[in-house]
């Protein structure tokens, strides 16, 4: 028997173009130049954060006599801040703190959103309730939600995580809900049902695998949003409480000294940009591969 792959021609009469999809689309996406650059940028930042204690001898809150020392000062490769704390240590531990927050918050939001979407798929009444919940959360755009949450809980690490997770719930929830609705209408799902396949197996074997792609892209996008939100909340003074460093906190502390000591801001500026740029490049690479 010969197999015949339909060549790329104009649509033949009465047939639809076949869904074309290599098995390891994600891996292929991340192997493109765009994907590799993204992964490398993210990798460097993450590694720096993980290896913080090995890369610097100072603690992030240790104060020395030198304040606002220039980069290259012996013992302080990036200089010191206004309180004489080592900027490299603050940067590296700041990365750590950021990673901790986004690694907790984004999966939490994604999981809650997906759970709600599954609940919505289960019953029409639940669907209405879930949809209205999403509407309500979305009615508090971005930082206004942050303000509302900190109004109740006060500043700190937990509110930051909560704000990020809360904001991501409707994003993931709506994405999965739409995906399930689309997949449910697909003919191969009907075919499986007629073939006697049980509801649970249809969900895990047919529906969920075919809805996963946009969720993977969204995780990468949400990680960038999380970095934004953490930074913005620190900037507004409603983020993680000082003196603990985060990328946003270090940057916001540098603001008054921008004219005299621009190096104070340089470290977090470069790091945040690299991290977010890397994540967006990875997201874009995944998205391109999936949409093909």
């Amino acid at each position: 028997m010969t197999t015949h792959t339909p060549p790329a021609r104009t649509k033949p009469a009465g047939t639809r173009t076949a869904p074309r999809r290599p098995r390891h689309a994600h891996r292929a996406a991340l192997a493109t130049a765009r994907g590799r650059t993204g992964l490398a940028l993210v990798g460097v930042v993450v590694l720096a954060g993980l290896l913080a204690p090995l890369l610097t001898g100072h603690g992030p809150t240790d104060q020395s006599g030198l304040s606002l020392a220039a980069p290259g000062t012996p013992g302080h490769p990036l200089g010191t801040d206004d309180l004489g704390r080592d900027l490299l240590a603050r940067l590296l531990y700041g990365i750590r703190a950021d990673l901790g927050i986004i690694a907790a918050a984004v999966p939490l939001g994604a999981a809650l959103g997906c759970l709600l979407a599954l609940a919505a798929a289960a019953h029409p009444v639940l669907d209405t309730v879930v949809q209205r919940t999403f509407d309500l959360i979305l009615a508090f755009p971005g930082l206004i939600l942050a303000l509302a949450v900190t109004a109740i809980l006060g500043p700190g690490r937990l509110p930051v995580i909560l704000v990020i997770a809360l904001a991501e719930i409707p994003v993931f929830g709506r994405l999965l809900r739409t995906g399930i609705l689309v997949q449910r209408g697909r003919e191969y799902v009907t075919a499986a049902r007629v073939g006697g396949t049980s509801g649970g197996r249809i969900l895990t074997r047919h529906i969920l695998p075919n809805t996963a792609d946009p969720l993977v892209v969204q995780i990468a996008v949400s990680l960038t949003v999380a970095v934004f939100v953490e930074g913005a909340m620190s900037f507004l003074g409603v983020g993680v409480r000082p003196p603990e460093p985060t990328l946003g906190a270090v940057l916001s502390q540098s603001m008054p000294y921008l004219a005299q000591a621009p190096h104070f801001a340089a470290g977090p500026l470069v790091t945040v940009t690299a991290l977010v740029l890397g994540l967006s490049l990875a997201a874009e690479a995944l998205n391109r591969e999936i949409r093909r």
């Binding site: 792959t5 790329a8 021609r9 009469a13 047939t15 074309r20 075919a191 499986a192 073939g195």
Partner: protein, 622 residues
């Protein structure tokens, strides 16, 4: 024969670059001429290059497509090398084009008047009021009632047939010399197709516009064009007057294609002959005749040298060595010898099938309504039917008639709102969980779209094994053997089990779907338009497979289609559906020859036949 050709295509080659960097030779050395006022059909199956040829004429090839050789002369001017400005002056003004899908070919946010206005404006209409008046005139010309008012409506407020009329009006707006219609009726119901073909015929007659009609449907060719060009694998295999080509095909491919087309006039139980094999891979270099690999009459030279398009008797030209030689012999021997059929179509064989047995499935006044309170749509309205073991019940209807809903309700894919379904006399309309499982094991379904009904992420083996698993048939270790057996049963290589559906053609995917449906050894098989998405030669194979399976396994079949001719051939009895009701039921031959319901009569009248007159026991030499 003295007027110079209006359009002259010489040695046209079109290539595409495939995603992996290869070259796809979609059109190879296509030549033909078109005279003023002539009607020419370009016919072929998918991958034959017919649509690509049409688009190449206007240099509108999609994506990486390019003309890699040949000329397209319109009144002597070569369009293949003309500049964009010249092309724009030709498009719409000298050559108008109508596309396949009227649902997507109109811009949803623009009114119909705006569509026509844009075209008139592009071709020099400067006065706004004059353009509007002309737009009204055009809509009237194509038979849109109340054109002044309809001008301000948006496309979604028109039916499919009306949209196609609007597209024809747009194509005629610039008063072109040639109307290029690419499958203009494929997306339409038979009765609407009939109206559109009538309109095209009238328009070309009254305006003197030449028509090039691209189609896969032999019936449409016979109905609307004086001359036909048969394409296969990107090459022209036959070119001649329609009546000649369709009654006495010179090329073996044309003959095979005609034999595969179901005839409305052929009695129930006639076996259709498919063409074995698959079309050539256009990304490989072609030496010899494109059809040689599938041709029963192929000789050695057919595989090594490409046959030129040569005189094949009468005014017909064919690209076939044996056909050309026969014609030469006949010319020497004189006109009397010319009656020898060059490539005889096989004898239409009868299928020996056992008489239907006891009744398995009964439906009593089924009803089903879709939609919310705001918009209700009654899909089924009191449908009753019976189905016996070993029997095929054909269900025919146009889109929206409720035939697909009926299939889904019978297969318990959707619940019925009212009525009863009896399986072996037991009421299974609203089965409990366990009973539903038992019913599903006995009633299985084959779907229309072989692309959409297979999960792209599963292997063929997993797909076919899924019902085995669901119904706990066989030990897990033995299922692979059963899958192999099922794949063999539907004519596939068992090695297919490890691959994904995407690496199979439409016909092969449909075989996979049938294997899946047969896995739990059902008694009843509901086939929802199982061949509608397939080319005719493949359609014949699948229809043959289904009838063989019925004979061997004693299956009761419900065969749903919109093509009355196919349904007549495979069915014992036929039910005609219209607006959610069965308007007429009867024995297949009886219903087709003596229809009682006016709707059945309309359907029969609208179905285009490939050969107008046909005597059933044909003069055939073995």
């Amino acid at each position: 024969m003295t007027t110079p050709p209006l359009l002259e295509v010489r040695g046209l080659d079109v290539e595409f670059t495939t995603p992996d960097g290869g070259t796809l030779h979609a059109v190879r050395d296509v030549s033909f001429t078109l005279r003023r006022g002539e009607t020419l059909a370009v016919v072929g199956e998918s991958g034959s290059g017919k649509s690509t040829t049409a688009l190449a004429l206007l240099r509108m090839l999609p994506g990486t497509g390019r003309i890699s050789g040949g000329t397209v002369r319109l009144d002597g001017e070569d369009l293949a090398t003309a500049g964009e400005d010249r092309l724009r002056a030709v498009r719409g003004a000298r050559i108008g084009m109508v596309f396949q899908d009227p649902m997507t070919a109109l811009n949803p946010v623009l009114t119909v008047g705006r569509h026509l206005d844009e075209v008139l404006r592009a071709h020099g209409g400067t006065d706004k009021r004059a353009r509007r008046a002309r737009a009204v005139e055009l809509l009237r010309l194509v038979g849109i009632p109340d054109p002044e008012r309809r001008l301000d409506d948006h496309p979604h407020q028109f039916s499919g047939g009306q949209r196609q009329r609007v597209l024809i009006a747009m194509a005629l707006a610039g008063e072109p010399d040639v109307l290029l219609a690419d499958e203009p009726t494929t997306a339409l119901d038979a009765t609407v197709q009939d109206q559109i073909l009538t309109l095209l015929g009238e328009l070309t007659r009254t305006t003197g516009t030449a028509l090039v009609l691209i189609t896969h449907n032999m019936g449409v060719v016979a109905r609307s064009c004086a001359r036909v060009l048969v394409l296969y694998g990107g090459t022209v295999v036959e070119d001649g007057p329609t009546a000649e080509v369709l009654t006495r095909p010179r090329h073996p491919y044309t003959a095979g294609l005609l034999a595969a087309v179901p005839r409305l006039s052929a009695p129930s139980g006639t076996r259709l002959t498919g063409i074995p094999g698959t079309p050539p891979d256009l990304s490989l270099p072609l030496t010899g005749c494109a059809f040689a690999a599938r041709c029963a009459l192929a000789e050695d030279r057919c595989h090594t040298a490409a046959p030129p398009l040569a005189d094949a008797g009468g005014t017909v030209r064919a690209a076939c060595f044996p056909a050309a030689e026969r014609a030469a012999r006949a010319a020497l021997a004189g006109p009397d010898e010319d009656t020898e059929p060059p490539a005889a179509p096989p004898v239409p064989a009868r299928i020996d099938r056992p008489a239907p047995g006891r009744v398995v499935l009964t439906a009593e006044s089924l009803s089903k309504t879709y939609g919310s309170r705001r918009r209700r749509f009654t899909a089924l309205d009191g449908v009753s039917l019976t189905l016996a073991a070993g029997e095929t019940l054909g269900i025919v209807g146009e889109s929206g008639s409720g035939k697909s809903t009926l299939a889904r309700v019978l297969a318990h894919a959707h619940p019925a709102d009212g009525g009863r379904i009896l399986l072996d006399g037991r009421d299974v309309t609203r089965p409990g969980r366990a009973e539903l499982h038992a019913v599903r094991r006995r009633v299985q379904m084959v779907f229309q779209d072989p692309y959409a009904s297979l999960n792209p992420r599963m292997t063929v083996g997993e797909i076919v094994a899924e019902p085995l698993r669901a119904f706990a048939i066989g030990a897990p270790g033995e299922r692979a053997d059963r899958v192999a057996e099922l794949l063999r049963l539907v004519g596939l290589d068992p090695a297919a089990a490890d691959r994904h559906p995407r690496s199979f053609s439409g016909g092969q995917r449909q075989r996979i779907g049938i294997a899946r449906a047969l896995a739990p050894e059902p008694d009843v098989l509901i086939c929802d338009e199982p061949v509608s998405a397939l080319d005719v030669s493949v359609q014949a194979q699948i229809v043959g497979l289904l009838t063989d399976l019925q004979r061997d396994l004693g299956l009761a079949l419900v065969f749903i289609a919109h093509d009355l001719a196919v349904v007549r051939q495979v069915s014992h009895r036929i039910a005609v559906m219209h607006d959610g009701r069965i308007v007429e039921t009867g024995g297949a031959d009886e219903l087709c020859e003596h229809p009682r319901d006016p709707y059945t009569r309309a359907l029969l009248a609208a179905a285009p036949e490939p050969v107008p007159v046909r005597r059933v026991p044909e003069a055939v030499s073995a």
